[in-house]
């Protein structure tokens, strides 16, 4: 769906810190939302925690920098990082251009997703959340 100026795909789960999770079996792909990339604007640097690291939900798993600002990326779900998007190192602008697809950040082997899910939002809930922020 589209809310205000922001794309919010239906099947994903969302965090209050504007990360998304797409579940694919026992694995999940994570990234930052359209809202996040539009707020940051002109992303020029991305750094992600090493493959093999175990992270807890909402723990810092990386950093994204625009020309002016530095923001943490919080893991939307607990698990082991099994792959990071190496393309972002040379092309951080992918986060601006295609935040839900080519701009994915990492793949995580989920360890406790049933519990994590309770602290995430559906697309509808996230849309209402964005609207409340823009008021």
């Amino acid at each position: 769906m589209r809310v205000l100026d922001y794309e919010i795909p239906d099947k994903l789960h969302y965090s209050k810190e504007h990360e998304w999770v797409r579940v694919e079996g026992k694995q999940a792909v994570v990234g930052i939302t359209d809202y996040a990339q539009k707020q940051l604007h002109e992303i020029v640097y991305v750094e992600v925690t090493k493959v093999g690291t175990n992270i807890d939900q909402f723990q810092i798993m990386g950093t994204v920098e625009s020309v002016k600002s530095v923001s943490d990326i919080f893991a939307p779900a607990s698990g082991k990082i099994v792959e990071v998007n190496n393309e972002l190192s040379d092309s951080p602008e992918l986060l601006n251009e295609d935040p839900y697809d080519r701009g994915w950040i990492a793949k995580v082997n989920l360890t406790n997703f049933d519990k994590d899910l309770k602290k995430l939002m559906s697309a509808q809930e996230y849309a209402r959340y964005i609207e409340s922020l823009e008021e």
Binding site: H41, V44, Y45, T63, E65, V67, K68, V70
Partner: protein, 384 residues
Amino acid sequence: MSEKPLQRTHLYRYHKRTAKMTQFAGFEMPLWYKGIIPEHLAVRNSVGIFDITHMGRAVITGSKNEAFLNYVTTNDVAALTPLSAHYSLMCNENGGIKDDLILSKLEQEKFLMVYNAANRQKNYQWLIQNAKTFNAKVEDVSDNIAMFAVQGPKAQQTLQKIANTDLSKIERFKCGWTKLTDVDVFLSRTGYTGEDGFEVFVWNTPLKDPANAEKVWNATLEAGESFEIQPCGLGARDTLRLEAGMCLYGNDITEDTNPLEAGLGFVVKLQKEAFLGKEALLRQKMEGIKRKRVGLKMLEKGIPRPQHEVWKDSLEKVGYVTSGTFSPILHCGIAMAYVSVQYMTEGENLNVKIRDKFIKAEVVKFPFYDTTKYGYGRQKQCAY
């Protein structure tokens, strides 16, 4: 957070409609319109216009005003002829920098001082306090002037289309009066980007009567259309000045840094008669400085930011970053940093500690860009 309402400029409605806004020094100002990078590149390659009305401005008059200005600033005011300007500093008694500024001589016994928005009140108080013993009058004219910067290799051609005098006659660091459309303005060929360009003062234009300010802004945008002029916000203003190696007050210079370590000794005329900070600076010059402001260019991925530590071989902390950003021209992280003098030499390899990692950097000279390709001194391009 702040109780005082934010101040606005004459162009507020334009900014609010077209820009991402930010708070700066008590003002609500545009951060970017299209984006920091495209705005930055417009100024390096063609032309951009900035609203810099938030800056502080004072007019100094009176028969002893030159003696007063020579006492309160570090550069040699006697060297200024009417309609010329120079970069200068105000220092405290300890030689610490109160602010940096541009001083323009409007006519005999009349000067215009332009300084940082964040220091408006502080500087005005300082000027008033020190003017007492001189026959000099200081008037804060900040709220009566709209001020724009038109910067870039196409700045002159842009403004010429709407000016009624020959702007090529105004050389770098010279000033003059002209009409832009039908509005009287004062121009100085100065700026904060490293590029050729002008700063435009629309006098007698209080906030409640913004018509002349809007007229000049809109006419400039229209005149620059064929050069794809870009309105520019404070974001690009910061990246442009950093690439040019110019200091930002509060970051790179403060009351705790002195001009010699900041690399601004060229505007401190120690042979002048008594001036504020002279004795401390003479002493510092005799003793030698311990740290120096240098440029750092990152050799690995990573963007240096203020307060990041600078290390030698990850063994010894040798300094800290005061300004840092991603350079749109160099496509890498760049910074200004204060480092111990033994590590200030061009080509020195250092590390910036970014989130617990030591990222390789090299000491480089200012400006960061290739001066044959960018900046006011570049080869003049063929017209056709």
